[in-house]
Each structure stands twice: as C-alpha cells, then as structure tokens.
C-alpha cells in the first residue's frame, strides 16, 4: 500500500509507478488535507538516474526550485519563480528522487500551525479539524497521510519537529551548518536548518546521508562527512540521558503528553540507558531569547521583498508609498508583527537592551548545554507540551509562541534535535525529542531508532500512520 511506504520499502519494489501513485493520492485527499501549494504535472516532474530513482517526495515551499513557483505561503511571493535550485533540491534530484510538489507552511515559516499561510490552512491527517503543526505543516501532513514517501521541512525554532510530532512522523533538525541553506528562503539565518520529515528514523538517516555536507555556496556549512546509517541499529546501552527539570516545572504541559514522556523514559532505561534529571538554568530564557533574535534577523531578511525586483508590487505615486503599501498588502499579520518587533529590537536605542542581551543569553545557553553534553549523550524532552489543537483555537500570540518552549533551545545552540513519535494523547500523536551534541547527529538518530524499534505503540518497529477518509 503506497501510503504507508517508506524510502526503504520503495527500494524493495519496482518504482516506475510510484510518482503516479503519489499524484493519485494527492488528487484523492489533498482537496481536504491541503498539504500542497503547488503540485507538479506528471510531465513536469524531473527524474534523474540515481539510487533513489522515482521515489516521490515533497519540498516545503520556502525551499527554492528552479522554474517551479516558490511562494513561502506569502502573497508577496505568490507568483515568484526562482531561477535556481536550492542545494538540497539539487542533491535530492541527483539521487533520483522525484519532487512532486511544494508544501504549505506558515507564511515565511513564521508560525507553529500552518494556519498563518496566506493561502489556506492545512489539516492534520489524524483529525481533520486539527492543525498539523507548523511551520512545516504541509510537509508533515503530506508524509503522514501518505501523499508522498518523505519530505523536507525547515526548522528555525521547531518547525520540523513540532509538526512531525503533531502528525506522528519523524522530524529531524540537524546541527547548524551540516545542511546547506543555499536556496532556503531565509527567516532567521543563524537559526534556520533544513531537515528531513519521514515515516521512519532510518529514512531520516537516508535523507541526511544525501543532503548533508559542505556547500561552497553556503559559508556557514561545515566540512564534515558523516555516516548516518552504519551504527543506527546499535542500540543505546550505557548511554546517559538528561531530562531538564524545567520540563516538569512547565505548567502548560499536557497530562497525557507527560505520561507518554514518562513511559518513554522507562523504555530507555529498560534498553540500558541511564536517565537523570538536570537543571539547565538558562533554558527558561530560550523562548524569550528566540523571540528577540529570530524577528530581528527576519526584519532584515524580509527587507528584500520591496516590490522592485520580483514578487508583488502595488504601484503608488511615490517610492515610499509603493514600498509601504506593497509590504502591507503582501505580508500577513504575523509576519508584519515580527518585522515590527525585529525592527524595534535592532534600533540603535534598543540594540543593547534587546538584541545584544539576547545574543549574550544565547551564548550562555550554548555553554550550559555544552557542559550538559560533557556528561550526557542526549537530552530528552517532549517535543511539544501539547498535542495538535483545533484549527483556530489559539489566538493569543503569546500562548502561541509558548508552544515552542521545548524546541527553540536546540536552534539557539545549533545542536541536532529529533522528534520521534511515541504514542498518543487525546487520540493524537505525541512526539519525544532527543537533543544531542553538535555534530553527533548520527548518535541522535541512533537513539531515535531504538525508541522507534521498541516503542509499544509501534508495530514491529513501524510507526502507525493515519488513514485519511474523504
């Protein structure tokens, strides 16, 4: 059954019909699910010779694709057709993967529910009245529902991991600098990373094997070659795990999510891991720090959308008015909120008090984490304090931002972090987060694989997937 197929499964079968099957499934469910902003016609789908020839995947619509519209789910780029391929896209194409479409997101990846797409809301395949999470909600829904075999998302403060948790799939944010950002439309450049969203941990490792590595076009990439696959089945015996006490101190933690998390800790101990509670004092400042740094960088990154070169232009009598009306009409409320916030914190008067202070806290947090990793192999938390919520149910921006409570610190410190499904809360998937030391990405996936392999909620180590009825 195509919908349940992983990359590994695809390698075992004849592959010439997979793209057709994917398009058929999209045709069947996407009018309800709305994962995709753009679906390619079959004849437009390029398939190169490569070991993964013909395996259909989806790309989040903030990663540029040559000659294929890339919108960032924003009116301002509604008709933007990039002149080049992102490095990750080029690598995946070369490996043979077939890109069938571009998935929905919160506008410019600013959000945690995909409700802030300028075009439409994507639905959670487990419960169509719920959000799929975000901002890579389209990719998460497309993978979980089986419209595609796997997808790429981008993660600035949890945007791969949280929707993966909400949709019950695997989502991985690599170490900062491991995957090229060339062609990822920048939200917050010092935090953004592209990561795989898949139906198994092994699939995430397969995609990482292909997309990681130094890119001469992105000077923040690091020259390391990693082996993601050789040790992935080797278990976690003797590994030491830290659980931040801050997780338990957080009042908004859902009771059932907390229960699944406890069960997961028990499982890890059973598998030979040692789990300890630790205090990471700077952790509680992570969300505040993130919401200073990310909007500041965003305010600068989004300055290029001015109506001069490409994208929406609302022509008015003068230059200033054209800028102002174009940007007011082109950007949604959340994007404008963050641009204003970032412009404020970077202004000469407030730079010290906000941006510079946030940079200092960021360094302290990285130091704190680094001393944790001197003693532990990984940190464990729930990915999100709550499971997927009803579409439209969270309207207060602050409550919305607090969903990132367990995810942003990994971006601030640039460390690898994985969300792996572990059971359900209120009938919706729960994700457990494994955070590792910088450049120990393969170890993080190996831990994730152990959880996946032995989770009592999985069948023969396979993650349960929803069936979408339309």
């Amino acid at each position: 059954m195509f919908q349940k197929m992983t990359i590994e499964d695809c390698l075992e079968v004849e592959r010439q019909d997979l793209v057709k099957e994917s398009l058929k499934e999209i045709e069947r469910v996407d009018k309800v699910l709305k994962s995709f902003i753009t679906v390619l016609d079959e004849e437009r789908i390029e398939i190169d010779e490569g070991p993964f020839k013909g395996i259909p995947i989806a790309i989040k619509d903030n990663i540029v694709t040559k000659d294929v519209r890339t919108t960032c789910a924003s009116k301002i780029l509604e008709n933007y057709v990039p002149p080049y391929d992102a490095t990750v896209v080029r690598k995946l194409k070369k490996a043979g993967f077939a890109i069938v479409g571009k998935t929905n997101l919160d506008e410019f990846a600013m959000g945690s529910s995909t409700e802030r797409s300028a075009f439409f809301v994507t639905r959670n395949p487990w419960d169509l009245s719920c959000v799929p999470g975000g901002s890579s909600g389209g990719s998460a829904a497309a993978v979980a529902s089986g419209e595609v075999v796997a997808a790429l998302g981008s993660d600035t403060g949890g945007s791969v991991r949280q929707p993966a948790a909400f949709c019950g799939i695997v989502g991985f944010k690599p170490t900062y600098g491991l995957v090229s950002r060339y062609g990822l439309v920048a939200f917050a450049s010092s935090l953004d990373q592209i990561g795989p969203m898949t139906k198994s941990v092994k699939d995430a490792a397969i995609l990482m094997q292909i997309i990681h590595g130094r890119d001469p076009l992105d000077s923040t990439t690091v020259d390391v070659k990693m082996d993601f696959l050789s040790h992935i089945e080797q278990g976690i015996e003797g590994f030491r795990f830290a659980v931040p006490v801050e997780v338990y101190e957080y009042e908004g933690l859902d009771k059932e999510v907390a229960e699944r998390f406890e069960e997961c800790i028990k499982l890890i101990e059973k598998l030979g891991g040692k789990v300890e509670r630790v205090k990471i004092p700077t952790l509680k400042y992570a969300v505040a720090t993130y919401y200073v740094i990310a909007p500041a960088e965003a305010s600068s990154n989004l300055a290029r959308y001015d109506g001069v070169k490409y994208g929406l232009r609302v022509e008015k009598s003068g230059l200033k008015e054209t800028y102002s009306v174009t940007r007011t009409m082109g950007f949604g409320e959340e994007v404008r909120r963050r641009i204003v916030l970032g412009t404020f914190t970077l202004s000469a008067t407030y730079y010290e008090a906000y941006f510079n202070k946030a940079q200092k806290v960021r360094r302290l947090l990285a130091n704190d984490l680094s001393s944790v990793f001197d003693q532990f192999d990984a940190i464990l938390t729930p990915t999100s304090p709550i499971p997927a919520f009803k579409i439209g149910s969270i309207t207060d921006p602050l409550a919305y931002y607090l969903m990132d409570v367990f995810t942003t610190f990994a971006n601030l410190a640039g460390v690898p972090a994985l969300s792996v499904p572990f059971g359900f809360a209120q009938g919706l998937p729960v994700g457990v987060q494994v955070v590792g030391k910088r450049f120990e990405d393969p170890k993080v996936l190996r831990i994730g694989r152990s959880i996946e392999k032995f989770s009592p909620y999985n069948e023969n180590g396979r993650i349960p997937l929803p069936v979408v009825r339309v």
Partner: protein
C-alpha cells in the same frame, strides 16, 4: 576673527578584483549592458547566500598595510539596513562593529613639508546598483530603471581622523591615496568612473572664541578638482555664517557642478537608523599572522619609499623625486631612461617638463615614446648636435609619433651647425653686409653683437651652435 578649518574624509574605493565581493559575477562592470553581470546572489533572490571573495580580503589587507594600519586578526561583516531600489537585499553587507583594519596613517607633502594624516579605520563592503531616471531629473521622472551590475562590487571604505586643515590638503591626500592604489594594482582609482569616491566632513573652529561650528558632510565631489572647489566653497560659507553669528546646520550637502556651490541634501532630522547587526550568513574573517606577513612581503616599493630612493640614488631634489614617483609607470620610465643616459638630472628635467606636459593631452593606450627616445635626445644635446631649443621643438613629434629624435632632426634639417669654417664664412658675409653696425661695435657699443648673432642664426635657419657663433663673431670683430 581667526579660523581653523577641520576636515576628515570618508573615501570609498572600488577594488579591481576579478569577481564581485560575494558571488562569482565579474567585478569589471564599467559600461557593460545593464543587468548582464548579475546572479541570484547579487540581485538578492530569495534563498541566495553571500560567500566572501578571498582576493577582495587580500587586496584590502594590502591597502591597510600600505596605509600603516593594524590589520585585525578578527573582523566581521554586519548588515546595514535601509530601503532603496538600488539595494536589492534591503541591506548592505558592510563592516561596522569589527572593521578589517584600524589606526594607520598616510604622510602627504604640503608645500615642501610633510604632514601626517591619521587613518581611523578601513573596512570592506559591497557597492549598490545604479538608478537611471527617465527624463532630466529624479523629481520629474515618470519612472526609474535599476541596473544591478554594480551590486556587490567590492569596496573598501577608508575613514581618516579630522587631521586635514585645508581643502587643498584634502585634495593632496586623495591624490596620494590614488597613487598608492595604482602602485598596489588593486583599483583604477578613477574618480570620474566612480572607482574612487570621496565624502568629507568639514567644520570651522573660531579660534578667538574657541568654539567649533557644526560638522557638515559634503558629497558628490567626483574629481580631485571638485574636492578642493567644493570644500573651498563650504569653508567660505561656514566662515561667513560664523562671522554673521549664525548657526551652521549639521547636515549633508552635495556639490552642484552647474552652480559651483554646495546644496543641502538632507538635514539632521532625516538621519537614518541603519539597525546594524552581525551578518549571520558569513562567518567572521580570521586573518592569520602568516597571511599578513605574506601580503606584506608581496607589497611593491610604495611612492614614499621610491621617492626617498630616487633622491638618494640619483641625487635628485626632493621635489623632482616626488613628482617622478607619483605615478609608478613614470617612475619606471625614468629609471629605464637613466640606465641608458646615465644622466639623472637631465632625464628628470625632460620627463618633468616636456613629457608630463604631453601626457596631459594623452588619451590612453600605449605610449609611443620609449626611454630610448629621451636618452638619445640627451646625447644629441650633449654632443652639441642639436640645441636645447631644437630638442624642445621636436619633443611633441617624438612623443606623438615615436620617431627617433635623430630621424626628426634629419627630416626637418635641424641638425646643429657646429662646423667652424662654415660659420666663419657666414659671419664674414654678415659683417661685410653691415659695415655701419660694425663701426658701432668698434666705437664701444658691443651689445650690437646680438644683432649679428641673430643674422647668422637666420641664415642658418637656427641650426648654428649659438655659443660657437658668439665666439666666431667676437674673434672676427676684435681681430
């Protein structure tokens, strides 16, 4: 009232690297068709990222070393945020918090004395594009077009301390800087083509009351002459305001070529907040001691060093040495000439007067004149084969055509007559034809000899050796 003028400069230099600052487009974009040297990076396409051009950093380090700056081991790029259609990313990548180099100096010659001008900082940044307005002016244009070829061309910005005390010093400083840029072969230094752009901050101190005027920034001075003219105008304008007891606005003014005045561009209240912050797409630049040492060793002999050597080695006056070394190709030409002629002072005279005069009219391309020409010219004069006057006369033809001097002399029949018998013959004839002047001479009016000299020169079409003519005439008249 007694005044003191205080000027500081901010100079932008386009580096002549092969490619742009952060992408692989060509950096040589002068007068090529609009928007043909562009790519996703320099046009600010979504998702494109900058990558630092190492050659650009090397060029800037060389300049920093030539200006006696301290090259920082750690420097960093920052974003300078503002909106303008020629700035595709909505920010300029520059260096604000940690510049590449700081604390240098450049010595300039002002009327025979040396003045030290301190350099505050030197940093890298990228150029913006160019706007072309329909019609005559920006205010009347129905539309404007953007040419992004220049976007991302590497620039070095040099900021001096306010050590310059006259518009002339500002001009001399900028000229000296251009000379260094050309010696280093890192920029054309052409102000007219925008490869060297100079902005100035000027203020005037009233020495009697010991108060300073506000600082005025002057822009749009796109030639060495205009630097001096604009600042002279501004200096006068501020002084007059001080005399009238008026307040001088802190503002930015631009040199207006048509009216030869400066006009207000923007006032203090319009100052922008550029919201500088570290460029997250580019890791810090770490310059190793080895790299600095290597670049230091690669530096050519610079104008000041060459000048000192010329004075020492060739026994030239300091003025000659400094004129000859202002341009490296002239300095090299001089040295090649001296190797052939063995006469430094004569060579220097010919180059400084005749040759540099001809150079002013010279458009471009390869010079037809070679060191051999001047060496031969000196030899002909020395041997008395031609007079200095003749030599000066044929210089323009020699410069323009590249013909050897001897050829021109022969073609024009200008060879100097040094044959004593021939001169004696002509002199006798002249004396015979003017008996009354001869008697004037004999009666004591010896200055009429110049009349006879003139007559002999006329008969020989100016080719006779004047000294010999003089001697012969004296001998005949007194013998």
């Amino acid at each position: 009232m007694r005044f003191k003028t205080v000027i500081g400069l901010e100079i932008h230099v386009q580096l002549s690297t092969e490619t742009k600052a952060f992408c692989s487009c060509t950096a040589n974009v002068f007068e090529i068709p609009a928007n043909t040297a562009v790519c996703p990076v320099c046009t600010g396409q979504p998702g494109a990222l900058p990558v630092v051009n190492a050659e650009m950093v090397d060029y800037a380090i060389k300049l920093a070393l030539a200006l006696n700056c301290k090259v920082n081991e750690y420097s960093r790029f920052d974003r300078k945020n503002y909106f303008y259609p020629d700035l595709p990313k909505g920010y300029q990548i520059s260096q604000y918090f940690y510049p590449l180099a700081v604390g240098g100096h450049l010595d300039i010659d002002v009327d025979g004395t040396t003045k030290r001008v301190r350099i505050r900082r030197l940093h890298l940044e990228e150029d913006a594009g160019k706007l072309m307005h329909e019609g005559d002016s920006i205010t009347q244009a129905r539309y404007s077009l953007v040419d992004m070829n220049r976007c991302g061309v590497p620039l070095v910005e040099i900021v001096t301390e306010p050590d310059l005390s006259s518009p002339r010093e500002a001009r001399i400083f900028t000229e000296k800087l251009r000379s260094i840029l050309r010696y280093l072969k890192i920029s054309s230094g052409d102000m007219e083509k925008g490869a060297l752009r100079c902005d100035a901050n000027i203020s005037i101190v009233d020495l009697d009351r010991n108060v300073s005027s506000n600082r005025v920034e002057v822009k749009n001075m796109n030639s060495f002459k205009f630097i001096e003219k604009a600042l002279e105008y501004e200096e006068q304008r501020i002084k007059e305001a001080l005399v009238r007891g008026e307040n001088v606005e802190k503002e930015t003014r631009g040199w207006d070529l048509s009216t030869k005045t400066t006009v207000s561009m923007r006032g203090k209240e319009e100052e922008s907040d550029y919201r500088y912050f570290p460029e997250p797409d580019i890791p810090p630049i770490v310059v190793s001691k080895e790299r600095i040492e290597k670049l230091k060793l690669s530096l050519p002999e610079l104008p000041d060093q060459k000048k000192q050597r010329f004075a020492r080695e060739y026994g030239l006056p300091e003025y000659d040495a400094s004129v000859l070394t202002a341009d490296e190709s002239i300095a090299n030409f001089f040295e090649a000439c001296v190797r052939l002629s063995g006469k430094p002072k004569e060579t220097s005279n010919w180059i400084m007067t005749e040759m540099l005069r001809e150079m002013k009219e010279f458009e471009s391309g390869e010079l037809k004149i070679k060191p051999e020409h001047i060496a031969e010219l000196i030899r002909l004069v020395d041997r008395g084969e031609i007079s200095i006057k003749t030599a000066k006369e044929i210089f323009p033809e020699m410069f323009r055509t590249g013909k050897m001097p001897i050829q021109i002399v022969e073609e024009r029949g200008l060879k100097q007559l040094s044959d004593e018998h021939a001169i004696v013959e002509i002199a006798r004839k002249v004396l015979e034809e003017n008996p009354h002047v001869v008697s004037q001479y004999k009666s004591g009016k010896t200055n009429v000899i110049s009349f006879f000299v003139g007559q002999v020169m006329k008969q020989t079409k100016g080719t006779a050796n004047p000294k010999l003519v003089n001697d012969v005439l004296r001998r005949l008249l007194e013998g």
